[in-house]
């Protein structure tokens, strides 16, 4: 371990992978509830909240761990304060634990979600940002401590690299964009308007900046590619991400009670959103091709390139097919959106954080050689399963759009009768994904800890 600070990155990674496993297990319960609504002691709303909140939190924990690693490497120094980072880690884990307990209590007894100081005690009842106001404040404090510690580390040696700039810029943007979700409005239209600022400007804005910075970092680490060239393309990618993504927000304002001009703004800019993601794919392939033959950590590169590809396919292609208002009018509010959400998050962020783990974990643990076969196994279990999950939900969405929106059949009839087999297959492929996630967790705890003989034996077999 080059720096003691990397232990902190490991703490964040450990919490992230464990939460990843929880997220996938809970997702299978949610999938089964589409077939048997009373399958579990907690209702679907609580299970879905846990599924998505676990996803968001483990990705954020992964980003924080990755950032602590990147700033120490780029600045070539320890973190400004290791105890502060440790405190921030444990405070975050405790706060997240308290929020989860609150969700479960509310799920078992909805009346416990009482009003306190004009806000809900356990669950705000707002999609994705269900965490109550007291937790919002703790989350903001945690992120501010994290940003402060990272910025002070950069200032210690004043090595202002492009990757650090975009990474910390993206994280600051992320922190700022949490604020529009922290106040109550009487109008549901205004509620959703500001809610989309948080959700869209996170996943199609600040998170993509973080992704671009980490992609450049990983390509440099894995391939030793020229930092200047990587930086130039990173700026082009992030510039295009924000040029298309900020006003692409308009595609969420077609049908929620906002003026008609958003149909034009959203339609034009969101149609362009796949372009920067395609540039990222090209960037990954170009860099790999130019430096072929010197890669030690092949599985790390595998995940990195796969992240770029599935970011483009999931967030780009699966998004652009229903982003035009004339199409979206029929698909809005159907399972088509769920399909897009699953593939986009898998490609853009799940694979991103897993890439960072595969790239940095062997370096942190000092493992020059490690058994890479488990990483490939996990990748194919997860990817094949996710592709089929997305195909089943896309099929369900197409059936739903046709029968419900065009023919006028009832929502419940379509869901319970016509789409039943899609739900069954989705749940089966969910189990496949869980197997992949379990292999990841096992690999995470094994890399750098296996005896040398076992590693070389496995490498030979692979």
């Amino acid at each position: 371990m080059r720096y003691q600070s990397h232990k902190i990155a490991l703490n964040f990674y450990t919490a992230a992978v464990l939460l990843f496993l929880v997220q996938v297990a809970v997702g299978i319960i949610a999938a089964l509830q589409f077939i048997w609504p009373d399958f579990f002691i907690l209702n679907f709303n609580t299970i879905r909240t846990l599924h998505i909140n676990a996803l968001v939190v483990w990705l954020l924990l992964g980003m924080m761990g990755a950032t602590y690693y990147v700033v120490t490497e780029e600045s070539e120094t320890e973190l400004w304060s290791i105890p502060l980072a440790q405190f921030q880690f444990w405070a975050t884990v405790l706060a997240v634990g308290a929020v989860v307990v609150g969700y479960i209590v509310m799920g078992l007894n909805p009346q416990a979600n009482m009003e306190v100081f004009g806000t809900r005690l356990l669950n705000e009842g707002r999609e994705y940002i269900e965490a109550p106001r007291w937790a919002d404040i703790l989350i903001v404090v945690s992120v501010l401590l994290f940003l402060f510690n990272s910025l002070m580390t950069v200032l210690k040696t004043k090595k202002f690299t492009a990757v650090q700039g975009v990474l910390l810029g993206g994280l600051t943007f992320l922190a700022l964009m949490y604020i529009p979700g922290m106040f109550y409005t009487k109008s549901m239209v205004k509620d959703q308007f500001w809610w989309w600022w948080v959700v869209h400007l996170w996943v199609e804005g600040s998170w993509e900046l973080i992704a671009a910075a980490l992609l450049a970092f990983m390509l440099h680490k894995l391939l030793g590619a020229d930092v200047k060239v990587l930086a130039k393309w990173m700026y082009i990618e992030t510039g295009l991400v924000l040029f298309t993504g900020i006003l692409g927000l308009g595609h969420h304002y077609y049908w929620i009670g906002t003026p008609e001009y958003w149909l034009w703004v959203g339609g034009i800019f969101s149609s362009l959103e796949p372009i920067p993601l395609l540039v990222m794919v090209w960037d990954a392939f170009r860099t790999t091709r130019e430096t072929r033959g010197v890669v030690q950590n092949k599985v790390g590169l595998y995940y990195t390139v796969a992240h770029a590809i599935f970011n483009f396919v999931g967030a780009g292609l699966w998004g652009v097919v229903h982003t035009i208002p004339q199409v979206n009018k029929w698909t809005h509010g159907t399972q088509i959106t769920t399909a897009h959400g699953h593939l986009a998050f898998y490609g853009a962020y799940v694979l991103l954080i897993l890439s960072m783990m595969y790239v940095t974990l062997p370096l942190i643990r000092g493992a020059k050689d490690f058994n890479q076969s488990r990483g490939y196994q996990a990748f194919w279990w997860m990817t094949i399963s996710m592709v089929f999950i997305v195909i089943t939900i896309t099929g369900a969405g197409m059936v739903q759009a046709y029968l419900e929106r065009l023919l006028g059949l009832d929502y419940v009839t379509v869901k319970a009768d016509y789409n039943l087999w899609f739900w069954i297959f989705r749940a089966i492929f969910g189990v496949g994904f869980l197997i992949g996630a379990a292999i990841i967790v096992k690999d995470y705890f094994t890399i750098g800890k296996e005896k040398a003989a076992a590693v070389s034996g496995a490498a030979e077999r692979a």
Partner: protein, 223 residues
């Protein structure tokens, strides 16, 4: 393009886009109140009920939410209020196969929630959700007098015939086989609870005798 030029394009281009977004946001905020009815205390109380029970954890509203249960944007346009209140308080007493559990919603909360849903149904959503074009085409064909009454009072909002229509009330595809007595149907339409205990269906006593008879005669033909 040099790295510096790319960097400047990223910084200033992004700032420009953000400024445009802020300007459009200010303009939108100024227009939203004209695109929706006034928000009364009761509507606000209903919105708080929506949040309290995390309704969006299963339903969508304005098309956003969880896709597990029906969208709530236009629910009150077609479903009768009396039915909705009974359903919200105890869903499975009205519809035994409903996926919705009993959440402990009080009568007042249900009333407020419906007021909020009435408000949301009147928001100008640029024509969303679209009218199902094939269903509209099917209902414009020539029909019997009873069928016309069925369409006029939007009975298909709650009842299905041959797979088309809502699932809130019983399916009517074989209504004539189950109850071939036209007079029973007239009595049921005038006062549903007199023939079906705990019925959540609103009465249609305001229909003329001619309309009631035509509708009953149509229903007994469904076999």
């Amino acid at each position: 393009m040099s790295t510096n030029a790319a960097k400047n394009l990223f910084i200033y281009g992004s700032l420009l886009c953000f400024i445009v977004l802020v300007v459009l946001t200010i303009d939108t905020m100024g227009k939203l109140d004209q695109r929706a009815p006034e928000i009364t205390e009761k509507v606000d109380a209903g919105k708080k009920v929506w949040h309290k029970y995390d309704c969006i954890g299963c339903h969508t509203i304005l098309g956003n939410g969880s896709y597990f249960a029906p969208d709530m944007t236009k629910t009150t346009e077609r479903k009768p209020k009396t039915y909705l209140i009974k359903f919200l308080i105890d869903p499975r007493s009205i519809k035994p196969d409903s996926a919705m559990p009993k959440l402990g919603i009080t009568e007042k909360e249900a009333d407020d929630l419906i007021e909020f849903l009435v408000w949301i149904s009147k928001v100008d959503t640029n024509g969303w959700p679209p009218k199902p074009i094939l269903a509209v085409a099917a209902t414009s064909r020539a029909a019997s007098p009873g069928q016309m009454i069925f369409q006029k009072y939007d009975c298909s909002a709650c009842h299905q015939i041959q797979g088309l229509g809502g699932a809130a009330g019983p399916e009517l595809t074989h209504a004539g086989s189950k109850q071939p007595d036209a007079e029973w149907h007239v009595r049921h339409l005038k006062d549903p609870a007199s023939t079906v205990k705990n019925s959540a269906m609103p009465d249609f006593a305001h229909l003329s005798n001619e309309e009631l008879n035509a509708l009953a005669e149509y229903l007994v033909t469904l076999k």
